[in-house]
């Protein structure tokens, strides 16, 4: 290899390594005993332990929070896709600019601007603390996200395919279900994963709208920092368990992540 190439490899790995450092340190810490964790200077070679993970699962509520997070994220993702697909189709094929502007507004609006009215509404409906309130509130971001992503995928489907179906007597709904859906299946999967991640990671809405039984993971993880004691290793193990699924999912859709971020902004 040329010296320049070696230099680039080294520089690249140091740079990206710095960004991965906190994640690596979290995973490493989750396998340390309290003594190893509190050692200063930090120990790099140590006897790994699974106590922290055992501790996390010994806490009866943790599996419950995993289930809560999953219910909310799956619910918000599926409903977001079902509602988002027709909207995206209309946007892609009929250029309804109004929807585009509205979606940009949703991207700009602070979550709290939706959270305050939703909280008051759910309170009067006695729904605060329910999965319904969490899923509906998460739609505030999974729906625009789905529409943004899907518009791009639908625009890539050649119009001729649709026109051929329509000539053969297919309705608009038929085109959507029999042509668009099968042809954008990959895009739908990528969109679903991105929506799932967004919902899984959401903190503020869950903080306000969940209660002790419906609490999702990002809110629950706060419990590991108490006012007088921090269970360091357990905290790291819990953080690892929460984060790893989304990291793995994100790597599956890595080439769509930028498209989602940019497309949404530029289309408006």
């Amino acid at each position: 290899m040329k010296p320049r190439t070696i230099l680039l490899v080294v520089a690249g790995w140091i740079t990206v390594g710095a960004f991965l450092g906190p994640l690596a340190w979290m995973v490493l810490g989750s396998f340390k005993t309290t003594v190893d964790f509190l050692a200063f200077p930090p120990v790099w070679v140590f006897r790994p332990t699974l106590t922290n993970y055992a501790q996390v699962f010994a806490d009866n509520n943790f599996p419950r929070y995993v289930l809560n997070s999953t219910i909310v994220a799956v619910g918000a993702t599926i409903i977001g896709l079902v509602l988002g697909l027709p909207a995206a189709y209309a946007l892609a094929r009929y250029k309804r600019t109004a929807i585009g502007v509205l979606l940009l507004a949703a991207r700009m609006a602070p979550g709290i601007a939706f959270l305050i009215p939703l909280f008051v509404m759910f309170l009067s409906l006695h729904l605060v603390g329910s999965f319904t309130s969490l899923i509906v509130s998460h739609l505030i971001f999974t729906l625009p996200l789905s529409v943004w992503m899907l518009v791009g995928f639908i625009e890539a489907v050649p119009r001729e395919v649709e026109q051929a179906a329509q000539i053969d007597g297919c309705s608009v709904l038929g085109v959507l279900l029999r042509i668009i859906t099968p042809l954008t299946v990959q895009g739908l999967a990528a969109t679903a994963i991105l929506a799932f991640i967004a919902s899984w990671n959401n903190f503020l809405f869950a903080l306000v709208l969940s209660n002790d039984t419906t609490k999702t993971l990002p809110v629950a993880v706060l419990g590991y920092i108490g006012y007088n004691s921090i269970q360091w290793g357990t905290l790291m193990a819990a953080a690892t368990l929460i984060t790893l699924p989304v990291l793995a999912l994100a790597l599956c859709v890595q080439r769509y992540i930028v498209r989602g971020l940019v497309a949404g902004a530029v289309n408006g």
Binding site: V16, F119, L247, L261
Partner: protein, 266 residues
């Protein structure tokens, strides 16, 4: 989606509290008038602008620099590009806690790493009122600089090769090629990145809530956090709605300015 926002507008014109039996009372624009004399609100507003400015000033150059590095051809480049997305998808609440532990003034790994480069007395990070905002900006930069990098890499890949070849023939050095070709051609892309960052920086709340709760004192209380506290902890729904509208307007204005600016550049 429009309905909650209309409801919010209506709330902002009322004195509205959920505890007790007093029904919401219409008070016109009194909530907005009260904002002007609310020192805690004004302070949080300036603090948020400071946060945003620091965030942009760090994210954009750093993100661009990393994009230029990862745009070069070398082995494992694609792997590095893929790994770069991880900080922005990691659950912010969990990562906020991990960073809190890393920044711990006595046993944190950051203290150890700084000692390696001969910085024996680093600031107290989250406990120092002067350092808490820059520290939080740092954590936010860790999370979101990769987004700037990814956007810039997409922009770099789309640049036409001809101007670069022409410049090379004319004997322009790497710095000149960057300064006079890459930068102007990439300006619209950089503005898109800046726009996305501004939208999120102005609304920053998750990591602040988790890492400092707005403290020490109110030293890291951003407008969004203040908004949350006022509306949902202090039960001043109407007043909170007014704060939310001001924050929304702030994001809207900044975004529109950047969109205009981008059109002027492109």
């Amino acid at each position: 989606m429009g309905f909650p926002l209309l409801y919010l507008c209506s709330m902002s014109l009322h004195r509205w509290s959920l505890i007790g039996f007093a029904p919401p009372r219409f008070i016109g624009f009194d909530n907005f008038a009260a904002l002007a004399s609310d020192d805690r609100f004004t302070a949080s507003l300036w603090r948020t602008l400071y946060f945003t400015a620091l965030g942009l000033a760090s994210n954009i150059p750093l993100g661009l620099a990393i994009a230029l590095l990862l745009d070069q051809r070398f082995p494992t480049r694609n792997l590095l590009r893929a790994l770069m997305i991880l900080p922005m998808v990691a659950t912010p609440a969990a990562m906020g806690l991990v960073w809190t532990v890393m920044l711990d003034p006595s046993l944190g790994i950051i203290r150890y790493l700084l000692r390696l480069v001969a910085i024996a007395h680093p600031p107290l990070w989250l406990s120092d009122p002067a350092w808490v905002v820059p520290t939080l900006v740092g954590v936010d930069a860790w999370m979101w600089t990769p987004m700037v990098t990814l956007i810039c890499m997409a922009g770099l890949a789309a640049l036409p090769p001809e101007p670069f070849e022409a410049a090379r023939v004319d004997g322009a050095g790497p710095w000149q090629r960057f300064r006079f070709i890459t930068l102007p051609l990439l300006a619209p892309t950089l503005l898109v990145a800046a726009m996305l960052r501004v939208m999120d920086l102005l609304k920053v709340i998750d990591i602040v809530y988790v890492m400092t709760g707005g403290g020490p004192g109110h030293a890291s209380e951003t407008i969004n956090l203040y908004n949350y506290l006022v509306a949902l902890s202090y039960d001043k729904i109407g007043y909170g709605a007014a704060v939310a509208l001001v924050l929304f307007a702030l994001v809207l204005i900044c975004t529109v300015v950047l969109i205009r600016f981008r059109r002027a550049v492109a």
